[in-house]
């Protein structure tokens, strides 16, 4: 039972998409979107990562358990990042860097 064999064409199109998205990331960085620069960069990066996971890593054709494992990992990463922010976003002041000592 060999895993799903994807057509070469699919791989090349995914590669093309990733290259275009990289160029888009670099281009978007030079456009002043203020606060949204970070958001745009992250959305593109997440999309690129999901392309790689879905097609290159065959998760599209994998069992539900594999999909669940991937989802669990990302969920706990989000917990780590978001709950650390709970503390840092609600701090009244940024720490006085040491030169203020």
């Amino acid at each position: 039972m060999s895993g799903h064999v994807s057509p070469v064409g699919l791989y090349v199109t995914i590669f093309g998409a990733l290259t275009v998205l990289t160029a888009l990331t670099v281009f978007a960085a030079f456009v002043d979107l203020g606060q949204f620069n970070f958001l745009v960069a992250m959305v593109i990066a997440v999309f690129k990562a999901s392309l790689v996971i879905w097609y290159f890593m065959h998760v599209k054709y994998a069992s539900h358990l594999t999909k669940l494992t991937v989802a669990t990992g990302l969920f706990f990463l989000v917990i780590l990042l978001s709950m650390t922010l709970i503390d840092y976003s609600s701090k009244a002041f940024t720490p006085m860097p040491p030169f203020l000592q």
Binding site: S89, A92, M96, P97, P98, F99, L100
Partner: protein, 328 residues
């Protein structure tokens, strides 16, 4: 409170010590109830359903949903009560009243340095008046420490690079422990002291006796002249630097277009790093005093500037929740 000479309960020497203890007894009662309930049930079942003959098998009971819900929902409700009560006590614990008397505490490896506004400096000793809310602003010079007054039921970590604070209002005169509660190295257990709560009158007497070179603000004024600040910061405003009269609490606009409220943190930053936030309309000529001023002198200078404002007790860097200062 003691039994056979063994102390089993700490003194209640601050106003909210009683609130914390009442909360403690409430949770203790609830837990004792649950623990003894489970213990008695378990022991009773152990005796009542003891195995009589080899090969005896217990009754076939799979479980019961209502019972499960019962002992999930009830503990959740009790937990929420505990959380709510604890949160209110905590909120009260962490919001110093405005009229609190201000004391600076600096943790340094294995000693506590206390600095009164009136100029007294004490190491591992603290004299405070009873019946007066006191706010202690804490910082550390090297590693993490934690200023802990068990009799007042309050504690706060001393973090290098940042101000943290705690407050209490001592009720009963007497001497109580000061501990360092965050591990800080070899002599962590030696970093202890005693806080002596005096009657207000006795406190004033102690102040007079102990006052070395006058109040902090007076010492600040002397420094203000010695360091030639007064040459630029002239009260009339004609000097090369902005007038500092009554500046505390006002908002000034900066060269870079932003505005900033003048508080301790801004004063401190401008003294140590004068080019950081230059006020609009002035040249950034002021030299930086980074490394030239000791911690105590810096505090004295800030107190002096604050004493030039009509409302004497200025707001220190407010640690209460407000959106983060850094831009993103």
């Amino acid at each position: 409170m003691q039994i056979f000479g063994i102390p089993i309960f700490p003194d209640q020497a601050s106003t909210f010590a009683r609130d914390v203890d009442v909360l403690y007894f409430f949770i203790l009662a609830v837990c004792a109830l649950f623990a003894t309930g489970v213990a008695i049930t378990v022991i009773y079942f152990g005796i009542r359903y003891h195995k009589t003959h080899d090969g005896e098998i217990g009754a076939r009971i799979e479980g019961s949903l209502p019972l499960e819900l019962l002992w999930s929902v009830i503990p959740t409700i009790i937990a929420m009560v505990m959380f709510g009560w604890g949160a209110t006590v905590f909120y009260h614990l962490r919001r110093p009243p405005d009229e609190a008397m201000h004391i600076y505490a600096v943790g340094k490896q294995w000693m506590w340095k206390f600095q009164h506004l009136e100029g007294q400096r004490e190491i591992n000793e603290l004299h405070i008046p009873a019946g007066q809310p006191i706010k202690v602003t804490i910082s550390s010079e090297d590693v993490l420490h934690s200023l802990y007054f068990p009799a007042f039921r309050t504690k706060m970590d001393a973090i290098p690079g940042r101000y943290t604070e705690l407050w209490f209002e001592a009720q009963r005169p007497g001497s109580y422990h000061i501990f360092c509660a965050e591990y800080c190295g070899t002599n962590h257990s030696g970093m202890i002291g005693t806080v002596t709560v005096l009657e207000p009158a006795q406190y004033q007497a102690w102040l007079q006796g102990g006052g070395l070179e006058g109040t902090l603000a007076q010492r600040g004024a002397k420094l203000f002249n010695d360091l030639a600040c007064s040459t630029c910061h002239v009260d009339t405003g004609q000097g090369r630097g902005p007038s500092l009269k009554g500046i505390i609490g006002t908002t000034v606009d900066l060269q870079s277009g932003d505005t900033v409220t003048v508080d301790e943190a801004y004063l401190r930053e401008s003294i140590l790093n004068s080019q950081a936030k230059v006020v609009k309309g002035f040249q950034p000529l002021m030299p930086t005093f980074q490394g030239l001023i000791s911690e105590e002198n810096l505090v004295a200078l800030i107190e002096h500037v604050k004493s030039m404002s009509p409302n004497a007790s200025a707001t220190a860097a407010p640690p209460t929740p407000a959106p983060a200062g850094g831009k993103k």
